[in-house]
Symmetry: C2
Subunit: 392 residues, 2 copies
């Protein structure tokens, strides 16, 4: 279903030959209208890939008619040539869509085509393969193309990720790619969300930011922030329905939440999914800071891998933050057992059962009533292998 679950969208996923292994590597999502409203959020990394610089400009207009996404190369740190390549890709998409009669209301202009790329940094894209691939993708566009598009954006992902929230008479759907380099200021990933709700660009922007702040922004697989993170939300208006803001925002958040969980579950080499819930913090910012710091502690991530309820590593991590707390009031529960109470030894650690993939850590700061949850995973030899055996 993916991005074509909502009415008013077509999509395609094809093999352009960008990836050397012959897997699908080019996806196209087209908004057939009548509305072409869009919003986007991008990596907060100051080293931004060419497609991010391009798409940020496109989104300023509040209209996107098509999104082209390639795997097999990030087009990051590629200088002026990299940016020219992104521009040329957008031009080719508009031209090819118009030539094939997919123009819809008003046709396609390059300045309304968002571009996303993912893969190795510092390599120019093989434009001799990518541009002909655009024609092939346009030829393959379909109202049922969502799955193929989701498959074509995979890199080290073991599965493709899609989600759909269907409400009474409108829908939000989406696809995501991401497996490594998942970190705040957006988990490293590409995400395209679509809806047939009749919603204008400012409302899309608000709903998208409200959703990403508590979903993708709180996924932190390995503390590494990408140069290419992009999340786009496109509205076709094809349902003719304009939902209440709260209902619309909830549906967007539900899809973002589901896709974010799928990202963590597919994190490179992971054997455990860790939910870190920080409670009784003085502020939500404190809770997020503490959650992130715990999520990035390699020693704790190793301990979880070894099914060792090593709460000392949680306290060590909390101690490096600037959050409000008193060391002798801290509490830590692992899988429901309060192994640390009042900053010291609590319930018997042998009571903790860590055999299952899901691990739940609660850090109680005893400093207020704010809370936040961060999702991460364990650190494994397989992660090291995946990220050392070849360039990625």
């Amino acid at each position: 279903m993916s991005v074509t679950a909502a009415k008013g969208f077509t999509a395609a996923g094809i093999t352009a030959g960008i990836k050397q292994n012959g897997n699908p590597d080019l996806a196209l999502v087209v908004n057939t209208g009548p509305r072409r409203a869009a919003a986007g959020v991008f990596t907060s990394n100051r080293v931004k890939a060419a497609p991010v610089l391009w798409s940020e400009q496109v989104l300023k207009g509040g209209e996107v008619t098509a999104v082209v996404l390639n795997s097999g190369g990030a087009n990051a740190c590629t200088g002026p040539k990299g940016f020219q390549d992104t521009h040329a890709t957008a031009e080719k998409v508009a031209e090819s869509l118009n030539a094939a009669g997919h123009g819809g209301t008003g046709g396609h202009a390059p300045g309304q085509v968002a571009v996303c790329s993912t893969g190795l940094i510092g390599i120019l894209l093989p434009m001799d393969k990518l541009l002909p691939g655009v024609d092939k993708a346009v030829a393959g566009l379909s109202e049922h193309g969502g799955e193929k598009a989701a498959i074509a954006i995979k890199t080290t992902d073991t599965v493709h990720k899609t989600s759909v929230a269907t409400r009474d008479d409108w829908t939000v759907g989406g696809m995501a790619k991401g497996a490594g380099m998942l970190a705040p200021g957006l988990a490293t990933m590409l995400v395209v969300l679509t809806t047939d709700a009749d919603v204008d660009a400012p409302t899309l922007d608000r709903a998208l930011r409200d959703a990403t702040r508590v979903t993708f922004d709180r996924v932190d697989s390995d503390g590494c922030m990408s140069t290419n993170d992009t999340v786009l939300l496109l509205a076709s208006g094809a349902s003719g329905v304009t939902p209440e803001y709260a209902a619309f925002a909830e549906a967007v958040r539900a899809v973002c939440d589901d896709l974010g969980q799928q990202l963590i579950r597919d994190a490179e080499g992971a054997s455990k999914d860790i939910r870190i819930e920080v409670v009784n913090a003085a502020t939500e910012e404190d809770a997020v800071q503490v959650g992130r710091t715990i999520a990035r502690n390699n020693l704790l991530k190793c301990a979880v891998h070894g099914e060792d309820p090593n709460w000392g590593r949680v306290l060590s991590a909390i101690g490096t933050t600037s959050a409000a707390f008193e060391p002798d009031r801290l509490g830590v529960a692992i899988n429901g057992v309060w192994v640390c109470k009042n900053g010291g030894v609590g319930e018997d650690r042998d009571l903790v059962d860590m055999r299952y993939r899901e691990v739940h850590i609660v850090a109680d700061l005893a400093a207020g009533d704010a809370a936040a949850t961060i999702w991460t995973n364990d650190l494994t030899a397989e992660y090291v292998h995946e990220n050392s055996a070849y360039s990625s």
Copy 2:
């Protein structure tokens, strides 16, 4: 040589039975005077172990007559009982030294005995073994005991670490333990430095802070900061020589630098030692921030393990900092090859030879003339194994 290279010190290292594996686990360093000046720096972790809280108080007096160090347990997050145990240990050391006639000028008082502990967090020390061990250590004190003391403070260290700087007629010596949890605000470790120079406590404090700021504070093995970090510098004055400040500070820095390098070379599971040199930064703070951020990037650390000159991961890391730079002016050299120039592809990455243990990364921010160097190591499956296979 170690802490007994300087005149006016005796030391011992014995097996008290704290460690279950029967390895040496208790060290004692005694300043026999005539001076008993001392300075110390401690972890900046807000969750501090009982011995850190105790020793911080001791050092406020500017005099330390003895340091007792145990491995086999960190005595961190152990509540009031843990603090009482530290206090009892200091009392036992003073009592035992006085009883054995090791009092020297003025004898020993508990309030001048520093205590250091290292090992697992959240476990009370076996005082029934530790206290008799103090008597045994006192009985073993010797002017040649430095090596044994250095051996007794090892945890996951594969080698014991000592260093000596001998000047015309005075000496600075030291020992260190540390292998994992090495991070800023002091690398995780215990260090005792001794000198027979006749130097007062304020001068010791200045020299120690000047030295640790550019040595131990810039060692970052795994981004994890300990609850027990302690670096002590004790002066006996036994040489009768008061060196110029610059000469003394240089010798202290030389010993700290050497011990810091030994810590990195023994980092858990590491196969590569990585020197990250940040140049042309706007400020030294910027350079340190960028160096640390690169040092903590798991993806880069994996790439170095795989001998892959993946400069894109260096740029991704730099992009997450608040340092002054323009993305299109950044440069990165790996082992002398400028693989990234002006934020894009530079010299041929195939020219980079990464077969050797030492890896040198230069990040050029092109934003000023400040610089800093951070030392770290790669991320390996062995690190994961060492930190997941058992509690540590």
